[in-house]
Symmetry: D3
Subunit: 137 residues, 6 copies
């Protein structure tokens, strides 16, 4: 669609996590996840970029007001994950391994109901500046 | 097309602007645009990334010479918008709200005639490092 | 002092400005300031880094709580300059040329009374990623 | 595919190169490639981002383990190109102009056999922060 | 000393931590440290810049070989803190609040014996891109 | 001096180099410089930050006009080193090992005569984002 514009808003949260599979032994977890399986957790500064695609409103010139988008992201994501232990302090990762892939999918599913259905939504999540993911691909 | 490559060139310009809708009252403008509606303007360091997609020339190995692309962007965009007031000093935004969305569309339309028709064109515009847009989406 | 630590907090504001000397003609202003003298203003995303030096408190481990420092910077600087025209909307630059040098000095003088006298204060201000200043040097 | 996630891993290598077309005269090369044709070479810090798209494994939560991806990139790309002269020290560019476009295609072709066929692969290569390419586009 | 050069090497580690003062109640800790006192920890991508000042060796042109400096930092700091819980997994912060200030001092004290006495040492530690410290100031 | 301000201007150049000591054997050079001694050279995107300290002029508000500073840096440094082989194409490094330390000292000595004697000068040179130097320290 030539007339659609993508709007991006960047937010961040800092959290602890560990990666492990409950069905596996400690050795199996270390073999797959290495130091990311540390039982006492480690952590990251997560940088989150939320993308919303749509046709700009002719009066405002906005696809979505980034102030509103920022408010939604803070309400749904930052307040839920910032300065938290993803494994212990959140419902989302009680039974789901908090890999960057899964965190991005969870964020997408939390934001999707808050964004107008006519607008496409996409998530980019930086775990570090060297490791990051997009969902959907 | 597996054999197409996207080439990106980054340029920048610094400009003043304000966001407002001429049909609305001051109160309505403030309600929608907040401090961005300040009548005396504010400003940004705009970072512009121009993307051109095509098949590299077998002799040069270039989709497009980035020196040439840089020259085109400076002639059409930087010379027009850098150190300007977008609302007052440019024809493009005399009657168009200079949101990031609209600036990206204007830049696309200014550059499109200068780029070979066989090449696809896409614009990314950073208003700040936290707010940016792509056109087309 | 080997035991002093420097603490840095980064904030930002977006503003319009123009550079000119009221005693000079338009031609003289253009000769010195070039497009920065544009009468209709241009603008920047200013990145501000406030540095506070002191000995960490033995109980908290803080030289200064960066949450408190952030609050002070928002009260004194961001609320005053963000989304403003520095020349028209602020007392500080009614009669002072808003160069990066002068903005940094003004910011220092606004923050100095809000920071404990035992702590040293230093300002870094990015006008763009290519032009920035420190005060005091 | 709504359920696919893109995983990105960033690596880097520093290399010398020159751009030129063996069929052309020195003058023709300078006309097209400018200082990039300098016979004694110049160089870059290349930043490489490898993107792999797929459905996360239900147990690990990984599309691909980024440790494994990093190892593959170091074995195939960094060990081959880092601290090398691309024109003189590598087979890939003996008869191929080492433009960013061609380097990205070569990297894609070197990595493709090492990545599971069910996963899509995409390369982003920064020659400088102002010039970069994606392959495939 | 006009002839001294400062050499900087950047490394990184990802860790979990919490801020709290054992002498205080939970309420007092929350009042001072806010969400940083979360009992289940949060985490950061710490970026560490180690600065070494001295006169370059006339033969090598090096103040210190940055490969050697990198090795020292990995042995003393990264292997100790990366993918760890600073409060639980390290001796250094068993009884010391892991603020950025204290982490920088601990890093300085760990590295100081490994760097030649004729060379000055300074630490910069980024807890986030918005909060960072230097030691000594 | 409380009233002095430091002004910084960022420029860049891309160059090839190799590190080696002419008095040493190939083996000795490899032992000290590793892959940086590659006889066919490698290269970098050098980022250069020139710092000038002084008291702002009361009329202009400038310590130094950054446009003038940029012109001086382009004339003395960028035109000399950009898209060059530092070892082969420059007088400065015919008999001097082009380490970051030595390049920074050479840049300082080239710029010092072009900057007013009342102003202090300092050079920061990034060889990569992980390795950089300041001169004087």
């Amino acid at each position: 669609m030539e007339h659609k514009v993508a709007v991006f808003r960047k937010e961040h949260f800092n959290a602890a996590h560990r990666l492990f599979c409950a069905e596996w032994t400690t050795e199996e977890n270390l073999a797959v996840f290495g130091p990311c399986a540390n039982p006492n957790y480690h952590g990251h500064n997560y940088e989150l970029i939320v993308q919303v695609n749509g046709v700009p409103d002719p009066k405002t010139g906005f696809v979505i007001n980034t102030k509103d988008l920022s408010t939604i992201v803070k309400e749904e994501i930052v307040s839920r994950f910032d300065h938290k232990n993803l494994n212990l302090d959140t419902d989302a990762f009680k039974n789901l391994n908090p890999t960057a892939e899964n965190i991005a999918i969870v964020i997408y599913n939390l934001l999707r109901p808050r964004i107008n259905k006519d607008l496409e939504l996409k998530i980019r999540l930086y775990e570090t500046e060297r490791n990051f993911v997009d969902y959907p691909a």
